[in-house]
Symmetry: C2
Subunit: 334 residues, 2 copies
């Protein structure tokens, strides 16, 4: 059983998941990305994955067999497990909790496509629906607190399989970085009665320097205090705290916006590895959170390593002006 | 002039240092570690670095020439600069500050040694003294708030030159992660009247599972909530908030403890890249901080990549039990 441990100083939770572990002696070099011939995510290889949780399939096809378009399965090496009782105990001065949660893999497409942005908008749209449907379902489990949907594309971004896929981890506590965002947004709201992200959208659109793309209902920009070169955020213009409340028309538009944004990054930066992370409010947020928090997608191209200074301080050094990155991406034709 | 920008949501500061930047088009692949023939850090090549700030030299040798043992120079591509006036202004809803600070490089030895732990204890001792002397000096500049001393060894840890060296960045604000540590330690102290690190040392020594090394005045262990496999901390047993108040006998012992700890990690993990970071209180801490904060060294072997989930959440997944890592390192003979 994986467990969650809390750093008693900062309050940061860590998942200790030795099920995923190799022996200490297996750590003697950096893991290499698997360049396997056999891809467990390809259509026809369904039996190589645990049984599917939710799948969008063509009429007449059978569960765990060919004929699907987007497929969600449990992670074979889960960092958290859905079975078991919630338990929170002390170990001397330390706090520890059973690693209850969900760890799922969303296989974005049946064919062996390694670049997500190559998928047609209709396919990306179904991946975005899958995020929605899984969140709506998992939200019913009251043990689960916070969902994190993310994508690692490319070895430098931590992908261990190249077939396009997304992941979903749902934790029984609010992760520290999300808690900080929520707290900051709530403080701003408490003082001004406005959502800080809505204010940011207005200032970015007025200022225009850092805008990458401006569509009817979404805005894409490089944030003023970008931690990484070419860090890029996608926000819905209409205030909304929870991704799972997204409307159909918005998902259609977001599929195109996401595809175009990723293509711009890929053309501008020669196909970098990247991560994107959906930031959405914890499942059972209070009414202040609903008003103060604003879901969004953060895309981080993995161009530079992160060295000791960043680890030690949480203080990032970014060598590219966000205004230059924004302009460069805005002008990149795809 | 580099600038500091504050993320308006979380309060995290970012250094935007475009002086260090390449053009956007230069970002089209991951930077490779330079495998240069010419090493600017080797004895005899002093003129390849900016003029030295402080050097421990042999009698009769001249500044910026041969005959030194440990040498501190300004970083040639500084993320922060010492010249200029402190200035803090608003840009609409955002906060921005001149990038005043220090960014120095400490060249650990004159010969081309790429592995710090290979240096004799007497050499490591002088590196530790250099950390001390630079902090004592920089503390006099009232514009400077927080010093961060760190080492990146190996390409996977972000080292761009292989000759053993350390770095020192002093910021005009307290980095968010340090602020979190300080706040957590202060809250614990406020409630219990004890230093949380001192309590942790007592519990770790009693428990013994995670202890790597126990010397007269220092203890080395894998923390209970380790973020990374084989994360290892070195703490002085005697309470002390500021590294720059360290005593001579302690530095002698720390040199040996640090060397042995690094050797254990290198033997156990086949010479991994690693970062270590000195965590010490901000220069001008208040009397509560003096009582509640405890300086220490955190060593992070770079065994696994950090993927999207970690970036998005600050929620780390560690696949090695800290008890197993501690035992493995404790038993590793060097």
């Amino acid at each position: 059983m994986p467990e969650l441990r809390k750093d008693p100083i900062t309050g940061r939770w860590v998942i200790i998941a030795p099920d995923r572990a190799k022996r200490p002696t297996d750590f003697q070099s950096l893991p290499k990305p698997a360049a396997e011939e056999f891809c467990p995510f390809c259509e026809g290889n369904e039996s190589a994955c645990p049984n599917e949780i939710l799948t969008y399939r063509n009429h007449g096809s059978m569960p765990n067999q060919r004929g699907w378009r987007v497929r969600c399965v449990p992670n074979k090496f889960p960092a958290l497990k859905i079975e078991g009782q919630f338990e929170n105990r002390g170990v001397g001065m330390y706090d520890v909790m059973h690693g209850i949660g969900a760890h799922e893999v969303i296989i974005d497409c049946p064919q062996h496509e390694t670049r997500f942005s190559n998928l047609p908008p209709a396919n990306i749209r179904e991946v975005l629906w899958m995020y929605h449907d899984r969140l709506v379902d998992l939200k019913q489990d009251r043990r689960l607190v916070h969902p994190m949907v993310f994508k690692n594309e490319g070895a430098a971004a931590g992908a261990s399989l190249e077939h396009a896929h997304s992941q979903l981890i749902v934790t029984p506590v609010v992760p520290i970085q999300v808690a900080e965002e929520m707290r900051g947004a709530k403080e701003f709201f408490g003082w001004r009665g406005r959502c800080i992200y809505c204010d940011m959208i207005r200032q970015e659109l007025d200022d225009a320097h850092r805008i990458v793309l401006d569509s009817a209902n979404f805005v894409v920009f490089c944030p003023f205090a970008s931690r990484f070169p070419f860090e890029t955020w996608i926000l819905p213009k209409r205030h909304s705290s929870h991704y799972e409340t997204v409307q159909e028309a918005d998902i259609d538009e977001l599929a195109q916006v996401l595809k175009t944004t990723l293509q711009k990054l890929e053309v501008a930066l020669d196909n970098p590895s990247y991560n994107y992370i959906l930031h959405t409010a914890p499942f059972h947020a209070d009414s202040f959170d609903l008003q103060s928090y604003h879901w969004h997608l953060e895309i981080i191209p993995r161009l530079t390593g992160v060295a000791g200074f960043e680890w030690g301080s949480g203080f990032y050094i970014n060598s590219v002006l966000p205004e230059e990155a924004g302009e460069f991406l805005r002008r990149t034709e795809v």
